[in-house]
Symmetry: C2
Subunit: 469 residues, 2 copies
């Protein structure tokens, strides 16, 4: 999941680090080695095998579940198997949410089932009410207070496919804030058209958040064909729906950020950070979200390790990204005093589509190095896009503290066909795209590790953390 | 559903009617009118509107369910609304099967859910057993007796896309006969890779039949990604699965063939028959299977009615095709003495893909008329294919009794992406293809109605009914 599209513009503005003293450069020898790595990676299936292993042997791994614990063990074992010389875990604690069952049914003369899934964090319960349709969140917000008393709000916004996944700002916004807005108008339940783009009858889940002081109501998404059907039924007259969700919070859970390191040959205390998140939603096997990210990061660092990079490569398999960036925030809390040592970071959490763009918020002093990395990425059909990008999800909190980020932008055209739904399975990943992803990360990790001079990571004043998730 | 692929070759051999006395011809004026009808139909959305109405207002309509009863009322009302001058029902009685819930779970160190659906007619129950994989039905049949005692048979055959849907003979065969074969080897449960071609996590249901004398076991299909996953897990070692199906038989139900007629202007007692089936499986809204068939037949007859055809057009919305051709068999029983009056028949039960082929089993005496109809279909990009085709599902029983059939072959390349699964919804139909389908049927119905001479329908000796379903 990529939560930070909204935040990216903000980060570009507020998180530009102070300029470093002298220009950072990439040695020519490193560029030559990077070209070799690039070719090696394109012919290598390590990324695929890691992704296959996680999605098969663990499968779905909802944060706090037994499968999540198995994923933590898997990640430790996989780091060791891949030759990472330091492997450890750091605890991440969060409230546990569980999905048990979910049903929705149109009542009355057109009685029929609807394919729905509870939003993460939804309250459980069974309700029956008349549907009131809103084309988007603004329309729901504009409804008079009390106008939905005893009714079910239905926000019927259709996301469209975009390379940068831009429509997710609307779809994700409806999911996050829609239920609270519905409660404020008196609604007893909330339904939304899936925040996705697939025409198949699978439903995109994802977290919702009830504003403090509101009494949570059952909140679910329905598949796009079901939303179309509900729209047609509403055109025939009033529609009453029964929504039955068995789900909810169940105490507290502790999971772990799993960390593997390839110690640097000459600057072991300087870290080039990468990673993905280890947890997934429960409906699919979390292949594009985010086994692929874990696979890309592990495989790229593993390949680069053969070249004995100068700086340490650190790969983090972050815990519980999906329910609120818990792993990324815990990491930032634990490593807040080490911003400068985190020379630069790039996370992969936007699927396994072709990496088409590269950028970093490194300061002008590092521009030469960034452009050199961009040049080494160009043969992979990656463009340098100095006005785009963001630090992805889990490294956002560290970026807020002043860590410099780089961005390797995946083509997200088809990402929301799969994101958070049952179709997020291994077969949806193109092995060639995944190898290109690994190649791009390997080039980045190696060159960032070999760069002479830094990328401007430096602690920022406290209180600038807003906008990170 | 098209159950009769296997039977088609047989029918071509055994059901050739006796030759009629004099050549049957199509008047030139009728061909001119057919050209007009063809153009009208391509620009007309009546077929779409009917299909939309049935899939929306009724939705899924499992035979014997409350929704099935609503579908019967819907069809009667729709015939009247479309100006059919005679509308009636004929009862069809059958055992009622219900699906209530279905779950499957890999147990042990790789614990995870599998997306499954009970096969129609499956026994309910919860079982746990080790998976034994077979690549196809023959391999299961070749297993030693008793070799599956306490285990779950998994038949892992993948259908491939074909224009004529030819792989369904294997996929459908596994579904129909696999559970019985598994029981004979001692299995306590049966799983199969979906008899379908979709890479999405929706599962194709459909009837299975337990051989007499065997004690039924729970039998389910799993989605293709889940079958892939199970295959990968089996490569890691033994896999134990819990299969929990709540489903089963619940007494007897009566539904109805719903029949609408446009009385012929000059030969009212001679019938040109068409139709589709009214029931559907419960997972989708039965759009391509077979609301489209009902929509095509109703719309084509409605359009032709404006030309006051010579013979009577009869459209049958058949009851309970899915669970054993009950409607088609009841129709044949009720109308067995009227074979000769059923001049020719063509049913639409293979989706709403482009009609690409035409054929009939009419005798040589009617070849001129059949070729003339083929000529009138050619501008719709329909080829005359004298060695292909069959009478489709519901008219098979009448064809066995001697009724001449025609075949308008739909492109089934994508049919098994949707057939019997949750994705069989209105949005999957291309309105342009549907209009072409209506145009093809309208041309056929009109010209068959205006033909001078018959198409060879004549009662056959009793006992030749085998092979019809």
């Amino acid at each position: 999941m990529r939560r930070s599209i909204l935040a990216s513009a903000l980060l570009l503005c507020v998180s530009m680090p102070l300029q470093a003293a002298s220009p950072t450069t990439i040695p020519d020898a490193a560029l030559t080695t990077a070209a070799t790595l690039r070719q090696q990676a394109l012919a290598d299936d390590t990324g695929w095998k890691i992704t296959e292993s996680l999605t098969t042997e663990v499968g779905p791994r909802l944060a706090g579940s037994q499968a999540d614990a198995r994923a933590v063990a898997w990640a430790q074992a996989k780091f060791k198997e891949l030759g990472f010389d330091k492997v450890w875990t750091e605890p991440v604690t969060f409230p546990r949410w569980e999905r048990r069952s979910e049903h929705a049914q149109v009542l009355g003369e057109h009685a029929q089932s609807l394919v729905v899934t509870a939003l993460g964090g939804s309250a459980g319960g069974t309700i029956e009410g008349e549907i009131v349709r809103f084309p988007d969140l603004a329309a729901l917000q504009a409804a008079p207070a009390g106008s939905l008393t005893g009714k079910i709000a239905f926000v019927d916004f259709q996301m469209h496919k975009k390379r940068d996944g831009g429509d997710y700002r609307y779809g994700g916004g409806i999911r996050g804030r829609g239920p609270s807005e519905a409660i404020k108008k008196g609604a007893i339940g909330f339904l939304m058209r899936s925040a996705g783009t697939t025409p198949h009858r699978v439903v995109n889940t994802g977290m919702t958040r009830y504003e403090e002081g509101l009494t949570p109501i059952p909140a679910a998404a329905m598949s796009i064909p079901d939303a179309d059907q509900l729209e047609r039924l509403l055109a025939l007259g009033p529609v009453k729906v029964r929504l039955a969700l068995d789900c909810g919070w169940d105490g507290e859970a502790t999971s772990y950020n799993v960390i593997g390191e390839i110690t640097g040959r000459s600057k072991p205390k300087e870290i080039v950070l990468t990673g993905g998140h280890l947890d997934s939603w429960d409906l699919g096997t979390g292949a594009i979200d985010d086994a692929a990210g874990v696979g890309i990061a592990m495989a790229a660092a593993h390949l680069v390790a053969q070249q004995h990079p100068a700086r340490t490569l650190r790969v983090v398999a972050f815990a519980n990204e999906e329910q609120g960036l818990y792993g990324g925030r815990a990491y930032a809390k634990a490593h807040a005093s080490e911003i400068k040592q985190h020379v630069i970071a790039a996370e992969s959490d936007f699927g396994a589509g072709h990496v088409y763009a590269f950028n970093s918020n490194a300061p002008a002093s590092a521009k030469g190095a960034i452009e050199a990395i961009a040049g080494a990425l160009k043969p992979l059909d990656v463009a340098y896009t100095p006005d785009q990008g963001d630090p992805e999800s889990d490294i956002g909190a560290m970026a807020q503290l002043g860590m410099t980020w780089a961005w390797l932008g995946h083509d997200g055209t088809d990402y929301f066909d799969l994101h958070h739904n049952a179709d997020d399975t291994l077969d949806k990943i193109d092995p060639k795209d995944l190898a290109q992803n690994v190649a791009a990360y390997a080039v980045f990790l190696y060159l960032a590790s070999e760069a002479k001079g830094d990328f401007g990571s430096a602690p920022k004043a406290a209180g600038s953390e807003k906008g990170a998730h």
